[in-house]
């Protein structure tokens, strides 16, 4: 699959499987909750989903990779806390991780 347009059957099967399960996850929340009113403790739980899931997704990259990554994550988190724009934060993260890897020899 090295040229620009090449495709093959195993690739197609993998993409089909991945696409099917992904769409299933995207509509199942709708199917489960349609017509149900959510409040109180359940609302607090649902409201916490974004923070909780996103943190889990990036945990291996920011906490289990190296000191440079963990320190850069702290820097980005502080900048984001003070409402730095997203693009600036990305550049800050990329810049600090490169610099810190260099300085820390990681």
């Amino acid at each position: 699959m090295s040229n620009l347009l090449a495709l093959n059957w195993p690739w197609a099967a993998a993409v089909l499987g991945m696409a099917a399960v992904t769409y299933a996850t995207r509509i199942s929340g709708l199917l489960l909750l349609s017509g149900v009113e959510v409040k109180g403790r359940w609302k607090a739980a649902l409201d916490a989903v974004p923070v909780s899931v996103m943190m889990a997704v990036i945990t291996p990259s920011i906490l289990m990779t190296g000191k440079a990554e963990s320190l850069s994550a702290v820097i980005v988190a502080i900048a984001a806390y003070f409402r730095a724009p997203l693009v600036l934060n990305i550049l800050l993260g990329m810049g600090s991780v490169v610099l810190l890897r260099h300085l820390l020899g990681g």
Binding site: L4, T22, G29, L30, S34, V57, P60, A80
Partner: protein, 211 residues
Amino acid sequence: MVAYVPIGLLWGTLAAGKGFSALAAMLMSVFVYAGASQFVAVDMWVQPLPILVLTLTTLVVNLRHVLMSASISRHITAVPKGWRYALMFILTDESWAMAERRALHAPLDFGYMVGSSLPLWPTWFLCSFIGAAVGNRLGAPETYGLDFAFSAIFLSIIMGFWKGPRTGAVIIASGAAAVGTKLALSGAWYIMAGGVVGVIVASLLHSEADA
């Protein structure tokens, strides 16, 4: 939307490194359209392809969509029912996070959902194509810190939800559970584990007084 450009280019570059043609990279982005799982899949991409394991891992990584679409379903009741299912195809971490933040002070109508979510989709798959076509010439993504861009985006979105110490408790609980699970189990179970533990902590810390 600007964030999808570097991330899409980065993912395309990594996919090309595993033998994806530019078209193959683009079509995966068209049909799967779930960045985190695509990064994980490319990481696991070996020949012969472990198709079943790839599919199951994608399911685990994307199980968070169940919680996300459950949460957003509360705010899109003004959208015609058939369209809700179409909209869910373009529900991503970022479009969903934006929609949830808007839902704090305004209802989500069809126009807002399409306008905020739909442009991200072609941005993502076209950048995947370009990344795979030309990205290899950039050299290793680590040289530019591109491999950290995804984490920086998620961190920024997470901090956008900051509402005080309780948010901090959710972050710590989720991170700790993810670390523990990642150390104990291979695969992507740490995502569900962290997600569920964080949500449980949020629910335990809830008090009716400030609802």
